[in-house]
Amino acid sequence: MTDDAQKANLTQDAAQGTTPDSASGMACARAEDATVGVPISDDARTQVVFQRDEPRRAIPFPRLKKKVKRDRHKRTKVSVFRYAYYDPAFKFFVEQVLDCDYLQLPKATKRTMELGIQNSSDYVCTPFKHMMGDWIEALELGADILVQVGGPCRLGYYGEMQEQILRDMGYDFTMLNFSHGIEQGYVGWGKEVLRTVNPDIAIPHGVKQLLACGHMLTLLDQARDFYLANGGFERERGVYRRAWEALMDEMRATTTKAEIDAAFTRGMERMREIPLNKPADPVRIGIVGELYTAIDENSNLGLDEKLMDMGVEVARTLNFSNRYTHYHEENMRRTIAEYAEYDMGPTSTMTLAAAKKYAQLGFDGLVHAKCAGCTPEIDCIPVLQRISEDFHMPVLYLTYDTETSDTGLMTRLEAFYDMLAMKKEAK
């Protein structure tokens, strides 16, 4: 019997006053009913009627219409911490992948640092303090969402701690913390993004743009390597820096992979055209160290520029794309098998492998830059000392905390450079 037929039957039953089917919403107790047990004569023209709680039926029609992804939504402002020269990639990620507005932070000031110091525990590693300053400024500028990355050291706990501190300070925001969802890898992160930021991201488009974003990171690092190698030998002072800034501006304006490639090609051409005054055998220094401080100009007080100004060819294997996009820890560790049997920390293998590579390539010296309290990089120091002894390559160890004056740094760098230059001449 179909549902409709049954329903019709029941209405008929009710109309006739006979016992309806138990499936109906109404039920009748007749004289014969054992539960009532009161005899009523057959002449009775009425009946006791009561309502039964019926289990809710499932909605008969499944929702056929698939949820439509909206292409317009309330614009949210997303901010990423300041990190070296990667803000074009962050901007691309926010605008093209997350489909939100990117909040471009102005250059960090002394106030940024002070805000960071005030609101962090004293002896947490320095990037935490820099980022705290960045977040507070971002929230002051109206950010809705803050993006924090995860990592295998203390960095993995940054997001949660910073979120709590900012909430304790009274700010209202959402944090996209890539420490969540890490168990499932990319899938988990994808879910996290959809959940916290924007459920309307068109996934195929997002993935395509994410790959383009990774590509941009690689190109930025490639351009930077070229800049570091040649920037110190420009004939006219400041030309290289201007070319670099122009490249960054063009990168910031890109929206597709093709545009990224075009901007990169143009930028590299401009840099290659700059006339150089490069000696055949310049002083070459490699920079190794911790992922944030060794790269970020704001926190290492312009280490790159300072070295380049002295006329040094600078090399730095350590960068975002080498660490994340194409990184094979085990193979890299094979090259330093005599120094490290185990993976010693997030960037340790890269630090040691790069140091040994520079030594083998005949670099004149090495600068090891890290923030105060960075456990993995501190643990690299004894191993670097061995490499330094074995290859007769001087190493300058720099530990950065929240200082803002670069006088001390300048003195040490100058002395280091003089020593290297004299050593080179004596050869």
Binding site: M344, P346, S348, D379
Partner: protein, 334 residues
């Protein structure tokens, strides 16, 4: 390097020895090795470690190097056991220090005579993987599979029994404290003082190291308070509980401590957070505890290689005074 020539294995009494020492000792003994554990830390050991280390490393790491030096210099052992604890475990991993230890020891003491016996513990929270790692070590040391699995089984049981005994003792202490509190509460004359219980939250290699925290534990006890060690709380429920505290806290030991704090904070009068300078995990964990655990007074102590303990003792004294006054109601009701 032939591991088969090894007769005596030395274990530094530092860092994770306080977490897995029973297991290690028993494991090597069952495999037929003699085990030498370095003596408890003293000034000489610490100074030796400090001289060998880079300035910036944490106090515990310096102590560890001291123990390695003490074992290496004496002619007591022909191998040193220094494992590497991987932090591939995302939520219950270890500080990168434990990952780097074997290579760090090698780089610090390149001329060291005893060879290193190392292993990689990939996931300390995964019993099966951990067993496989130890069996692999036993195989490298020349044990047959049967010997190896028997040795590991016994060693693990010994470790678990020792942990369980500690946890049980702590429960008994808590029960006793509760009983005393009841007695005092029913005492109408008000002459009896309720007992004070202090939860000492510190990594086990800090809390139980006589050189690093011995003075502090002694000082608290001298001031008439009972010390409960957070790291002695039953580990499995504590780790589970810690996810209520934080989702992304990456370190196992800190999770254990956080879980213990959640379980015990209502049963103690005060909490002492003790960290060795500059401990990476604690630099954030202490802040998290101070922000999240409300209702119990907390004293955050940082210890460095200072030679005198007068400063910390003063702070402890005033802390315990405050707790006593609070127990009476407040300063005003005395």
């Amino acid at each position: 390097m032939s591991d088969n020539a090894v007769r005596t294995i030395g274990i530094p009494r530092s860092l994770l020895f306080y977490e897995y020492g029973v297991l290690w000792q028993r494991f090597f003994e069952e495999l037929g090795f003699q085990v030498v554990v370095s003596p408890p830390t003293d000034r000489a050991i610490f100074e030796r470690g400090e001289a060998a280390s880079v300035d910036e490393v944490c106090l515990a790491s310096k102590t560890f190097m001291g123990h390695v030096a003490a074992l290496a210099e004496g002619d007591q052992c022909d191998a040193l056991f220094v494992p590497s604890f991987d932090n591939s475990d995302i939520r219950v991993g270890f500080c990168t220090k434990y990952q780097a230890l074997p290579d760090l020891v090698r780089a610090t003491f390149p001329q060291m005579r005893p060879q290193l016996v190392t292993m990689r513990v990939q996931k300390a929270s995964d019993k099966k993987r951990m067993r496989a790692d130890y069996l692999e070590l036993a195989r490298r040391l020349g044990a047959n599979p049967r010997q190896a699995s028997r040795a590991y089984k016994r060693a693990l049981h010994a470790q678990e029994a020792s942990d369980a005994a500690r946890a049980k003792a702590q429960q008994e202490t808590l029960a006793l404290l509760a009983k005393y509190r009841k007695v005092v509460a029913s005492d109408r004359t008000g002459t009896e003082q309720p007992p004070l219980a202090i939860l000492l939250v510190a990594h086990p290699y800090i809390a139980h190291d006589p050189y690093i925290a011995g003075d502090i534990v002694a000082a608290i006890e001298r001031l008439g308070a009972t010390v409960l060690f957070a790291d002695e709380a039953d580990r499995t429920p504590a780790l589970k509980r810690s996810f209520e505290f934080s989702e992304t806290l990456p370190w196992m030991i800190n999770r254990h401590l956080a879980g213990a704090v959640l379980q015990l904070h209502e049963q103690v009068d005060g909490i002492v957070l003790l960290s060795a300078f500059p401990c990476g995990p604690d630099s954030m964990f202490d802040d998290a505890i101070m922000r999240n655990v409300q209702g119990v007074p907390i004293l955050n102590l940082m210890i460095d290689a200072q030679s005198g303990s007068a400063g910390t003792e003063t702070r402890l004294e005033s802390f315990i005074d405050i707790l006593r006054f609070q127990g009476k109601g407040s300063y005003l009701h005395d």
